[in-house]
């Protein structure tokens, strides 16, 4: 029997991405593709672009459909079978709340921006890759909204995520990160999202966290997470490809790309400090510490990547050494911020128990017992005395990353790091040299930042009291916010768990 003759992958990909587009004549090409030159990136040959996966549309639809079938079977079954009862603890949901309110709207933003690139990149190869990614991102937003929908039936803080994303102070951290990227030109956007975020940093967001979700019984999150992550491998590949493509096309591109890598490494790293807190403090059963994840995914894998890129004249991102110095500190510093401001958050924090403290002490032998345990114990003492600590002063925010100024000096973990710049007669404040450098290079962009604390003081957030502002956020006071201990969620969870162990409860 003669074997059916099939077209090879390379041939199929070439037919999809070569020779189907044309040089326009009614209008000059620069008017048809108006965005791909102003950033100064020079491209001589768009056809030099090649997707290493060589994914064609037929294969794309086939595999994406298969992923969707698997995903929705699991999400349906999770929902139908009260899967949330299998979670290790309701405290775990604080991490999910932060993830779904912080990241899911970004997936939708990514869908929009890649659709824009899918129209506006001059080469057919990168246009096809951007169109596929645009569809992927829409799928990710949808699957996460289905998960929000399930959790919203049983738990607090999920009811108005889109509204909250535009208003709540800590959600301005992911929102402003993405708005910064989306308001840049197409090549900077690709460097920021596809390379710095997806290739260099996304493993730190998705991989240990999704594995943590599995470990904590959260089937819904594992499933959308890994289903999204399988697309992510393609996005990472696009990220690396676009960097190599720009560097190979023209030597003049190298310094521009290096500056973007420096900027977006630091922007992404600061954003991920929230993930560090989720990993070290919010997972009842833990996978690995932030420090271990940083060593595995940035120092080892990122190290190999930047060694590989050295042949183009690219060096590791500026301040990567600072990030490594901070690896045993940032998760603790961020937890401290959210513990103090839990009254203004759409999720809970709690007093860390002894077993958890022992784990932190083991994972962070140089810092935890000396620097952070005493603070946690002081707070526990205050809570036990009926005086749980909430900080009622509004924090100063970093103008660039928008995180409250809680990070410490690279070489002194007992002193808050504080930097500032003057521009147009005003003073702007920063949490780090990395954030200050980013501002100093484009001050006219960052003076427009919507800083939640400034907006509150300017009277743009519903009123003058904390309560007015939280209502403007659409938080349900006394339900979504405050400590986990004594929350309606804790009460409900305890009832459910008692119901599952009737003998033990008697």
């Amino acid at each position: 029997m003669a074997k059916k003759k099939k077209m090879g992958l390379k041939q199929k990909y070439a037919l999809l991405t070569r020779g189907l587009d044309w040089e326009t004549t009614y209008q000059p090409m620069d008017k048809v593709f108006p965005y791909d030159k102003f950033e100064g990136i020079k491209i001589k040959d768009w056809d030099a672009w090649e997707d290493p996966f060589r994914l064609t549309m037929d294969a794309y639809w086939k595999f994406q459909a298969e992923k969707e079938r698997k995903l929705y079977a699991v999400i349906d079954s999770f929902s139908q079978n009260n899967g949330h009862l299998g979670l290790t603890d309701a405290r775990y949901l604080s991490a999910v709340k932060l993830f779904l309110t912080g990241v899911s709207p970004l997936e939708y933003m990514a869908h929009r921006q890649f659709a824009h690139l899918g129209r506006h990149l001059r080469g057919a190869g990168p246009r096809v890759a951007a169109q596929m990614q645009s569809l992927d991102e829409l799928r990710h937003a949808q699957t996460q909204i289905h998960t929000i929908s399930h959790y919203n039936r049983y738990f607090d803080g999920f009811h108005d995520w889109q509204h909250m994303h535009d208003r709540v102070w800590y959600l301005s951290v992911p929102k402003s990160f993405f708005d910064d990227a989306a308001s840049a030109g197409p090549f900077e956007f690709l460097t920021s999202i596809s390379f710095s975020f997806e290739y260099v940093l996304t493993n730190l967001l998705f991989v240990p966290f999704m594995s943590g979700a599995a470990y904590n019984g959260d089937l819904a999150t594992v499933t959308f997470g890994f289903s999204a992550q399988s697309d992510e491998s393609r996005h990472m590949t696009l990220g690396l490809e676009v960097i190599k493509f720009m560097l190979e096309q023209d030597e003049g591109n190298v310094p521009i790309v290096q500056r973007w890598i420096d900027k977006w490494f630091w922007r992404g790293y600061r954003l991920l400090s929230l993930v560090g807190m989720m990993m070290d403090y919010m997972l009842p059963k833990k996978i690995m510490s932030w420090q271990e994840a940083w060593e595995m995914y940035f120092e080892e894998q990122g190290g190999a990547l930047f060694e590989d890129l050295a042949r183009y004249g690219i060096r590791p991102p500026k301040y990567h050494d600072v990030a490594s110095k901070e690896k045993d500190r940032i998760s603790h510093e961020v937890w401290a911020i959210f513990y103090q401001y839990t009254h203004a958050a759409g999720f809970h924090t709690w007093d860390v128990d002894e077993a958890h403290k022992a784990w932190l002490s083991e994972k962070y032998p140089n810092t935890f017992d000396k620097l952070y345990r005493p603070r946690l114990e002081m707070w526990k003492g205050m809570a036990d005395a009926g005086n749980r600590f909430y900080n009622n002063a509004l924090p100063q925010l970093c103008t660039t990353c928008q995180i409250p100024m809680g990070f410490t000096e690279p070489d002194d973990p007992s002193t808050i790091c504080f930097r500032s710049s003057e521009y147009g007669g005003d003073t702007y404040h920063f949490c780090s040299d990395g954030c200050k450098d980013i501002f100093d290079h484009e001050p006219e962009k960052y003076v427009q930042s919507w800083l939640p604390v400034h907006q509150i003081y300017q009277g743009n957030c519903g009123g003058a009291s904390v309560e007015d502002v939280l209502k403007w956020y659409h938080l349900n006071l006394g339900t979504d916010n405050m400590a986990y201990e004594g929350s309606p969620e804790q009460k409900l969870w305890s009832q459910w768990m008692a119901g599952r162990h009737p003998v033990a409860a008697e």
């Binding site: 595999f63 298969e66 998705f206």
Partner: protein, 89 residues
């Protein structure tokens, strides 16, 4: 110094024959188990061979089916009909 390339796959029935094929075809590979996923590191270069996976599952495996099990990777990719290669240059 040869730096590791890395591939992470879901720990599922579909992925297990791929993981087996990788460990057999890449003797230097090291496999680390995590809840719901498996991370495989290998110095310099790692190959996933179409033949090796097909042999294990008893039908012709399409290299692109890798997408269904893939979580993340590190390294430059080169994929064709016969194999999927991750490498640092």
């Amino acid at each position: 110094m040869t730096r590791n390339v890395s591939i992470t796959l879901q720990n599922t029935a579909d992925a297990r024959p791929i993981i087996e094929a990788i460990t057999e075809d890449n003797p230097e590979a090291t496999v680390a188990d995590f809840p719901s996923m498996v991370k495989i590191d290998c110095p310099g270069r790692l190959v996933v061979k179409q033949d090796s996976v097909s042999e294990r599952i008893g039908r012709e495996w399409d290299v692109q089916e890798l997408h269904l099990s893939l979580i993340t990777l590190s390294g430059n990719i080169d994929e064709d009909d016969d194999q999927f290669v991750l490498a640092w240059t």
